[in-house]
């Protein structure tokens, strides 16, 4: 099959997480918190799917994200694919059926995206203290939120596999 149906489910779940996080950010715009919850978007596709399906799912997620957020178009697509490729390359070392490894990976990818975003777009403001205060606030808020959101999101994705009567096991089992 050209595309694993689970890729569509995972893409749909990614769209939902992006939409919900933007709704929350919009409602909290007068507060000094902003949630950038992008790490979990790439973890399960890279751990569960065959390469072709993972690539299409992550590519579509990246393009969707680039249309929502105001970074240069292609920025998040490239970064998500880069993070996804790294996870996919090492995926035999992780246990995707439990939340521990995906949670750690989600945090690492999220940190990578925030750092890359800051380096790419924040360079003119590196000397401004208020910029760093907001970046640090965003970083802390996002990673604290991920502690709750990421496990829920992974469980939701697995639940969607079951509801759609799809394969619930990853393609490659981990090396133990």
């Amino acid at each position: 099959m050209l595309l694993d149906p689970r890729a569509i489910v995972l893409f749909g779940a990614n769209v939902l997480l992006i939409y919900l996080s933007q709704l929350v950010n919009s409602a909290l715009s007068a507060w000094p918190v902003y949630f950038l919850l992008l790490g979990p978007l790439v973890v399960l596709p890279a751990l569960y799917l065959r390469h072709q399906s993972y690539f299409i799912c992550t590519l579509l997620t990246g393009l969707w994200l680039d249309a929502v957020l105001r970074a240069p178009f292609g920025f998040f697509t490239g970064l998500l694919l880069l993070a996804g490729a790294a996870i996919f390359f090492l995926r035999s070392r992780f246990r995707p059926e439990h939340n521990y490894h995906p949670l750690l990976l989600g945090h690492l990818v999220n940190l990578w995206l925030i750092v890359a975003l800051t380096l790419a777009l924040g360079r003119p403001h590196f000397g401004v203290a208020s910029f760093w205060i907001q970046v640090l606030t965003t970083l802390c808020a996002s990673h604290l939120a991920l502690l709750v959101v990421a496990p829920w999101f992974y469980q939701l994705e697995r639940l969607l596999f079951e509801i759609c009567q799809l394969e619930t096991e990853p393609e490659d089992l981990p090396l133990l």
């Binding site: 715009s29 249309a67 970074a71 292609g74 694919l81 490729a85 403001h125 208020s130 205060i133 907001q134």
Partner: protein, 283 residues
């Protein structure tokens, strides 16, 4: 000897191919992809905005008759006050037009006000934008000024079929010509990165040396016609201190902006009725 698994490197090869393809793909394709994805998700945001309106409607339906009567009385008072002001504005406008024709002054830019709901606020360390529920369907032009009851909101930076994106005045990428109220000399206003704690602020530069500002007597910064985008006299913020700039010739200072800027629900887009023609103004 263990067999080398080349398929292990497939993700890295695919990533390299993608990055190369992205680099050489024509700009038109990227623009098409961006517009396609943006337009595809716009209905979800618009629908959410209509749901919020519906929620407000049902919320108001829960008020008692007595509360509605009191609100009606207040609206009636406000209406008569604004009717009086409208008559006065008409009289003053006629007087201005008469004086302009007497002095043979060039005509001023006129604007149409398009009121639009804010469907999403995207305010963070890297960008500060609002998404409006009107776009090309209401002839919103890119670069148009956006205002609210408290003054300047920002500028339209992207127009889609049913939505448009506004860069907020707080954004570090936002820059406009301004002046202090009652002083015709132009200064430059620019947004600043916001810490998120406290009210939003901006920065004014190129202020003349003879201006004196104190916290007891702050100066009001307003828009000027010089930029061509904003009509003159719209409030930008209050300046409570000025200090010598890096050149020593001019002063710079912090502008305190309206805190409501970060939680707006409705704004007005100023659409010029007689857009500037750049060629005709060239020397």
């Amino acid at each position: 000897m263990a067999k080398l698994r080349l398929d292990k490197y497939k993700p890295l090869v695919a990533l390299g191919v993608f990055l190369l393809a992205w680099w050489i793909v024509p700009v038109g394709v990227k623009v098409f992809l961006k517009a396609g994805f943006t337009e595809f998700q716009a209905p979800a945001w618009v629908a959410n905005s209509y749901l919020e309106d519906l929620e407000g409607f049902w919320g108001r339906r829960m008020h008692s008759k007595r509360e509605l009567e009191i609100a009606g009385q207040e609206i009636a008072r406000a209406k008569s006050y604004y009717q009086f002001n409208a008559q006065r504005a008409e009289t003053l406008q006629a007087e201005i037009s008469r004086l302009e024709s007497l002095l043979d002054l060039p005509s001023r830019r006129e604007y149409r006000y398009e009121v639009a709901r804010v469907i999403r606020r995207d305010v963070n360390a890297w960008w500060q934008h609002l998404i409006l529920r009107k776009g090309r369907d209401h002839a919103i032009p890119a670069g148009a000024a956006v205002v609210f009851a408290g003054g300047v909101v920002g500028r339209v930076v992207e127009v889609n079929a049913f939505t448009s994106r506004v860069e907020l005045i707080t954004s570090p990428n936002f820059r406009m010509a301004a002046q202090f109220e009652g002083d015709p000399r132009p200064v430059v206003y620019q947004g600043l990165p916001q810490s998120g704690f406290g009210d939003p602020v901006g920065r004014v530069s190129d202020a003349p040396q003879d201006l004196v500002v104190t916290t007891q007597e702050p100066l009001r910064l307003v828009s000027t016609h010089l930029g061509g985008t904003f009509p003159p006299g719209l409030a930008i913020g209050q300046v409570t201190w000025l200090e010598p700039g890096v050149t020593g010739i001019f002063q710079t200072g912090q502008v305190l902006l309206d805190p409501d800027l970060l939680s707006l629900h409705e704004v007005a887009v100023l659409i010029p009725l007689n857009p500037l023609e750049v060629e005709s103004h060239a020397p």
